[in-house]
Amino acid sequence: MAKAMEIEVNGKHYAVSYPADTPLLDVLRDELSLTGTKYGCGEGQCGACTVLIGGAPKRSCQIPVSAAVAKPVTTIEGLEKEAKLHPVQQAFLDAGAFQCAFCTSGMLMSSVGLLQKNANPKREEIVQSLQGNICRCGTHPRIIEAVQHAAKMMQERGR
């Protein structure tokens, strides 16, 4: 029943055996063992499952794997390059922008997506683009601080 599909995740190509309508989230976590992407609701309401598809942040629990065939997918595991953290990861670390950290992966991916589109977002723009991401521990102020800090670091690096 499952037809073979190929998806590209973090620069690697994978043949997927799960049915085409399986949420990308399940394929990432259960088939590819990329468990950095989290399940928080499965309903598109919490953002814990956020990944980049073709550079845009998407809720992987709402995307059937078949819809991810054409574009490259980036998960949190793909942010670190040659043992060097992505500036957004570094900024979260520097700001201590987590408590239980279960929301962190989704927050990071949404923030990376935002900064790719808008290198110097205003506070309100950060709030706007993270509005769909829930942090139950209440770390919001530090997350905003981290995104601002990351924007600065990325600009200094001239990216």
Binding site: Y18, P19, T22, D26, R29, D30, E31, S33, L34, T35, G36, T37, K38, Y39, G40, C41, G42, E43, Q45, C46, A48, T75, I76, E77, L79, E80, L85, Q89, Q90, F92, L93, G96, F98, Q99, C100, A101, F102, C103, T104, S105, L108, I126, V127, L130, Q131, G132, N133, I134, C135, R136, C137, G138, T139, H140, P141, R142, I144
Partner: protein
């Protein structure tokens, strides 16, 4: 719901102290060092009277060697110089892995990085009743100071023997012992090499005062932070064992529903699927989550449902169903209410209602279970690993020593993960299939089948003199609980009583327990009294308050928020509230903006002053305080579980609103560091006063007194 009542007893909200029995014992030393390798070990034996909940009866095992239950923590210095601390507490975002490591490093005189902690593993760590009640810091900080100090002295002793000098002159620093006279030194690793030295230690020696802390007291970043920002940390739901199956449980359509017809033929015919029906437990296991879901959908059932109280009628239900002969231990009285009320110039009576709310931790309940030769190992995110172990042992009729519960650092709990629901489900499926099984609850299951913070009704009658002195205070809490029920204000005539009501929904602990409800009622009422006495609400509180620590937080919050604040815009309002619980003190000042036309309510700014004795890690503490304020805003403004006839009507984040970025105000946390006082816990108290502060600010803005939580689930329209 009868099955639920039998199975689940809500956590007692009383913190009673009783002395633990005192025993001498021989450690299973050989066994200990076999597991950890040679080195130096120190065990803490709690002789002191500890809270009953911390030393509840139960056997502990260390590789099946029974260890005396008085042992509460231990420390090991290995031959490689690695320092390992062991405690049964769990990490769920409150940052204890970092703060306890700091304490150990500080006292043992080693770099922070050389300390690791083994937490919440029923085989490797000492017994612990659970991570709740803000008990980790007040119990573990002094204990680890003592073990670390003892280990340091053992190391000095080894060096003294080696050099044949008196230990008194030797100095321990930077993970080595040095003899200042001869300038010789030996590292801890060298000193531990080939040794199997152990010491038992009474948990009562003096400790280094906070003013001399070097590593503790500093804002060190979270241990393993990198594992979290790279997604490498494995939460329970991320664990995958070889051959592991995925489990799903079939839930009744409503609480208390009974099965009337059942057909699992189609599900059983599916490849790789196992269906388990055992009493009222119906579940499936399959090689993948989607196959498990398909199999579950293929089971055909019919149920008989029973009518039940709806959330719309919950408050009158609670009031009507209070148990008549309320226990005397729930009642405190002094003076004469009659006289107090007679002396009053103003009297206010009011009723406050508090809705059921859900914890909704972002990581839902999850467990991975594996059976090997009749022994069960379970990974699960719980606050009570040892209680879970005992429950599993009893459910499966095996000895406790055959069960191991391991708690990976967890995606939060807030009091909501005491029970072993997912663990039992995974273990039952794993037993049926002979393979490891993972069960991860869906968000809807978490919102429906977990337990809730109980609803409550609180009635207050009070009297105050013309110049603002409290004369009478009568306070009745129905159902929600006793935490924080006693007023901190000076009132000669008072009666406080808690009334039990049989459970309506499955209920249990929630960050702060009933202290949030009780503080909401009390502090809202105090605000109303200040108004009738025509006094500023800060001045009114201070006039009736002699507790100096409470006065200090109140004054600190007032100062930072610039109290008394003049309103400069339409719809603006300011409110104040304070409280104390579990050895820490909090005061909150909130500013709100109400748009009377649209009814929209915005919390603009919150200043919260918090004092919990000597601060172990100001960075982690700030995270906890700010987090509590934001989480508390949800219950204050809009969170409420809606139900009818045993159905939860809003079991989704789309219908159960939690605070999001746009709801977050500007927040200032003022931390008062009392180096002269023992460190108290901080996980709960900072959540207690945000609701009344906001409610009082809304009154200031609109003249509308809101006595129910949540305050404004649908905004605030013109009166």
């Amino acid at each position: 719901m009868s099955t639920m009542k039998e199975r689940f007893a809500p956590e007692p909200e009383r913190y009673e102290f009783s002395a633990a029995p005192m025993h001498q014992f021989e450690l299973a030393r050989r066994d200990f060092f076999k597991v950890l390798g040679a080195g130096i070990a120190v065990f803490v034996v709690a002789k002191e009277a500890l809270p009953a909940q911390e030393t509840a009866a139960g056997s502990r095992s260390f590789h099946n060697e029974e260890l005396p239950k008085e042992i509460t923590s231990w420390l090991h210095v290995g031959e490689d110089g690695v320092v390992t601390g062991f405690t049964g507490k769990a990490e769920m975002g409150q940052n204890i892995r970092t703060s306890i490591s700091q304490t150990i490093a500080d006292e043992l005189r080693v770099p922070f990085e050389s300390v690791r902690l083994v937490l919440a593993d029923t085989t490797l760590t000492p017994f612990d009743a659970g991570t709740f009640g803000s008990r980790t810091t007040p119990t573990m900080t002094p204990q680890f100071r003592r073990v670390a100090e003892a280990a340091r002295n053992l190391l000095i002793g080894v060096a003294a023997k080696e050099w044949n000098v008196a230990p008194e002159g030797l100095v321990a620093a930077d993970a080595k012992v040095t003899d200042p006279t001869s300038k010789r030194s030996l590292s801890y690793a060298e000193l531990a090499r080939g040794k199997t030295l152990a010491q038992n230690l009474p948990a009562e020696d003096p400790i280094t005062p906070a003013s001399e802390w070097k590593i503790a007291g500093k804002p060190l970043p979270k241990v393993d932070g990198r594992a979290f920002v790279t997604g490498r940390h494995q939460y329970t739901s991320d664990i995958r064992l070889d051959g592991m199956l995925y489990g799903k449980v079939l839930r009744p359509p409503s609480f208390g529903a009974t099965l009337t017809s059942y057909d699992d033929t189609a599900a059983k015919a599916m490849t790789g699927v196992t269906v388990v029906r055992d009493g009222d437990f119906i579940a499936v296991a399959a090689p993948s989550a989607h196959e498990a879901q398909k199999a579950l959908d293929a089971i055909h059932t019919q149920w008989k449902e029973v009518p039940q109280v709806p959330s719309k009628e919950i408050f009158s239900h609670l009031k009507k169903n209070a148990e008549p002969s309320s226990n005397e231990r729930f009642r405190r009285q002094k003076g004469s209410l009659e006289e107090g009320l007679a002396a009053a110039a103003h009297r206010i009576d009011a009723t406050y209602n508090v809705a059921y709310i859900a914890h909704a931790p972002l990581e839902p309940r999850a467990a991975v279970a594996q059976w090997t030769d009749g022994k069960l190992a379970v990974w699960t995110g719980t606050q009570r690993p040892f209680a879970n172990r005992d429950e599993l042992a009893s459910v499966f009729h095996i000895p406790e020593s055959n069960v191991r519960v391991i708690v990976p650092d967890t995606g939060a709990a807030y009091g909501g993960k005491h029970t072993s629901d997912a663990a039992i489900e995974a273990a039952r499926l794993a037993r049926a299939t002979g393979k490891p099984v993972k069960v991860v609850w869906t968000r809807e299951e978490e919102f429906t089948w977990a337990y809730f913070r109980p609803a409550g009704v609180i009635e207050v009658s009070s009297g105050v003199t013309g110049d603002g002195k409290l004369t009478a205070w009568e306070f009745h809490n129905y159902h929600s609980g006793m935490s924080g029920i006693e007023t901190p204000y000076d009132v000669a005539n008072q009666l406080t009583q808690y009334h039990q009501v049989p459970l309506v929904l499955r209920s249990g602990s929630y960050r702060g327990l009933a202290a949030t409800a009780n503080h909401f009622a009390r502090e809202t009422h105090m605000d109303a009294l200040a108004r009738v006495a025509k006094m500023d609400s800060l001045e009114f509180r201070l006039k009736n308050l002699s507790d100096v620590r409470m006065r200090a937080v109140l004054e600190a919050a007032a100062k930072s928020c610039g109290w008394p604040r003049k309103k400069t815009q339409e719809g603006q309002g300011f409110g104040l509230a304070c409280g104390a619980e579990k050895g820490s003190y909090v005061a909150t000042c909130a500013e709100v903006a109400v748009d009377r036309a649209s009814g929209s309510v915005r919390v603009v700014r919150v200043v919260e002053a918090f004092e919990c004795g000597a601060i172990v890690n100001p960075d982690g503490l700030r995270n906890q305080v700010v987090g509590a304020i934001i989480q508390g805003l949800g219950g204050a403004l809009f969170e409420a579980v809606e139900f009818e006839n045993g159905h939860i009507k809003n079991p989704h984040f789309s219908a159960y609103r939690v605070p999001r970025f746009r709801d977050v105000p500007e927040i200032e946390a003022v931390l008062l560091d009392r180096k002269d006082l023992p460190s108290a816990g901080a996980g709960e108290t900072p959540i207690m006063t945000i609701a009344p502060a906001v409610g009082n600010a809304l009154f200031d803005a609109t003249g509308i007194r809101l006595n129910n939580l949540p305050l404004v689930p649908n905004g605030l329209r013109a009166a």
